[in-house]
Amino acid sequence: MATQLEQARLVGAPVRRVEDPRLITGAAKYIDDLKLPGVAHVAILRSLHAHARIGGIDVSRAASSPGVIAVFTGRDFEHLNPLPCAWQATGTENHVVTPRALEIDRVTFTGAGVAAVVAETREAAEDALELIEVDWQPLETVVDAEEATRPGAPQLHDSAPGNVVMDWECGDLAATDQALADADVVVEQRLVNQRLIPTSMEPRGAAADYDSGTGTYTVWMSSQCPHVMRLLMTAFVFGIPETKMRCISPTVGGAFGSKIFLYPEYVLVAAISEKLGRAVKWIESRRENYAATTHGRDHITYLQVGAKRDGTITALKAKTYANLGGILSTIAPGIPTTLYGRMLSGTYRIPAIHCQTVGVYTNTGMVDAYRGAGRPEATYVIERAVDLVARELGLDPVEVRRHNFIPPDAFPYDPGILAGLSYDSGEYEKALDRALEIVDYDGFRAEQAAARREGRYLGIGFSTYVEICGVAPSAWIGATGQGWGAGLWESANVRVHLTGKVVVTTGSKPFGQGHETTMAQVVADELGIPLEDVTVEHGDTLGTPFGYGTYGSRSAAVGTVAIYNALQRIKAKATRIAAHMLEADPEDVTYEGGRVSIVGAPETGKTIQEIAAAAAVGYDLPEGEEPFLDDTSYYDPPNCTFPFGTHIAVVEVDAETGEVALRRYVAVDDVGRVINPLIVDGQVHGGIAQGVAQALWEGAVYDESGQLVTASMTEYALPKAEFFPSFELDRTETLTDVNPLGVKGAGETGTIASTPAVVNAVVDALAPLGIAHIDMPLTPERVWRAIEQAKA
């Protein structure tokens, strides 16, 4: 496998992106840039209470406000079902409560929508919101997941006793307890993986236009997966055939997971458009984005790790409280279970593992996938665990890693908790060694020792991670998650037009990754045509095959493989037609460099453009051959893919102020075959920035009453350019045999790897003070307090 592209011209080259001209000139159309004739504007009244009953809503004053067309409350949409929870934890009961278009009698987080104003302008709609009178009946609140499970905590939903969404486990509890009992040392640590707010630069938005003549909805939304939006809205919320709705996702201004999900506003605009008979649009404000778009992470984990004196890790046990917010988002229970617990083994051979995840309702915003989705949380636990073991035993954290690594000859490797999947390929030590060489590890330790003698605190931190992406074999996802029962294959349609120009329709949906370039690189190389002859289309359900969209770093390892498979069949058909044109036996011709020629007589041949024209006009085709070069592929991967690598952070901590300076950041990633190094590096850069930001700065804060304190960019600590040094990147390239391209996926590695590297570095810096752990974010205040406490 993975041999087809060895003659690659474009695959592997730093091709600059074909989508960029429209983005750098301001010509690209994001959802708020669309001009719909006669559009009316929707503004949503959101709860300022984190937990309250709604006694009643008086909209009369708002309805008579200038410019207002209509005002709606949840009662107006009682006929619509609540949104579905499409991925639930397996092997356990899920107590599912999901949002409605507008909540009717109760809210469980600040930001829940309870009424909507439709007006001629956005300003008129927003002005009228202030005239709606709601009889709020506030209830007791709880915002901490662990506290919410304790007796006496306020209860959010009658159907979820103890506020528990689900209590899930994986691994062997008895074997893990025994291994812990037998271990030379057992290290215990409580770890908080704080809540993050994805904060794509473009907020969400949705627009809808209902055609009463055909009874068809057209819904635009800023989404990573428009086909899934259509499926969830039609089949589960509206109860209408999929054919009665078209979903379009225009240019998307960043998402990082937060635009996977079906949100109440998308249902709302569709339903309002039908009621009013005109197009309507809602564009999220940044404040709404912080309150009402999903958040990520928010775990409290009790970790126990057992080891022998020589550093061999023998057992790992984690009990995690996963805060899922006041109500469930689309795939919320799947993230802290399948994508977290099953990856806790990391890059190490650990004979006994057990993970228990308790998903919990609290009076906070919805929590779901955010870049990495479960794997950053797992990587944080295992990479901190290794450092804690090294510290306990007085060993070098690099040597403990090396000692426990899964060796290259052990692949495919079954960690025992992956529900039947195995890690595909890996050379963990190779990536580690390369990173150590770049950072000059021995040199750093000498510098660190010298600095310590001067009273300066330098630290180095490692993250030798593995992650799971290229999601996912449909049968596996069906076995590891309960829900709507859909798969996770991907579709592609490839058409070679009469002129030789190629149009690819992919079920993937980019939001900054450059699919139009990378996918075109593969097509151009496979067919032997210029890059500019390929157009990649995405984002519209009309007339296109169903597709699952982009998340879980799946668009190269699944979406692009679907394109590749369609191309193989197109090449086979082109070869048959060319043989007919050349009056040769199909066995005697070969497709190479954009031409089908006779073996042994390469000057006699037909170009793909000539063949495409012949196929399109259909004047003279082989017996039984249909016209046109057109093929659709539905590719279901046999396994996920498992990128890996080593990230190293070097920090200096100011012991007087607690300030952490990130001095160097080295990343050696192995994402399998690289289609476009420019784009892969860009993905890694952005991922590192988000992961470092979790370690040092970012965190959503709710006060005890459930008010989101970090509800704008003024309070939420997004990193700026000057927060970072220039990142030092390199790669190893270990192909996977999961797919014929040998690609693994590159969208999330940076985020997954970087957070523990930075925390490990800060803890390493403060080791002389006896500090073994500080919870994130490692703000100056937290670090200073830890130092003061250690000195006391």
């Binding site: 960029d20 750098i24 630069m201 201004g253 960019m713 350019a721």
Partner: protein, 152 residues
């Protein structure tokens, strides 16, 4: 409603505006130039940055009436008669953008930064503090601005 006259990308417009109308809304909604983005409404993100009388401003915190008589350049007009401005070329060449939403504002800020004088990496990073990007980690934005500055 007050009437204002404003020159945007070389074209003079006269418009009746509500006193509370923001410059960004005038540009996007009245003039239909949607390249300028709204990302936060609180002057944090810089996606709405335009050139106002040769100064980079966040157009979400300027009232349209304040721009009466001013010359405004948006991302659509930055290149003038050329196909692309050198900064646009540099962002393309160095992969200085991913989703592209922050890019118009980022480029408009960088254009002013370069016009002000010589730049090293630290000065670029500091100079872009008013523009947030969530995709790139700023790495290639800094490279692109440095390349454009070097070619100045």
């Amino acid at each position: 409603m007050p009437t204002i006259a404003i020159t945007v990308n070389g074209t003079r417009y006269e418009s009746d505006v509500e006193p509370r109308m923001l410059l960004v809304d005038l540009i996007r909604e009245e003039l239909g130039l949607t390249g300028t983005k709204v990302g936060c409404e609180t002057s944090q993100c810089g996606a709405c940055t335009v050139s106002l009388d040769a100064r980079a401003v966040k157009s979400c915190t300027v009232l349209a009436v304040q721009a009466d008589g001013a010359k405004v350049v948006t991302i659509e007009g930055l290149a003038g008669d050329a196909a692309l401005h050198p900064l646009q070329e540099a962002f393309w060449e160095h992969h200085g953008l991913q989703c592209g939403f922050c890019t118009p504002g980022m480029i408009m800020s960088a254009a002013e930064l370069i016009a002000k004088g010589p730049l090293d990496e630290a000065a670029i990073r500091h100079g872009l503090e008013g523009n947030l990007c969530r995709c790139t980690g700023y790495e290639n934005i800094v490279k692109a601005v440095a390349a454009a500055a070097a070619g100045r």
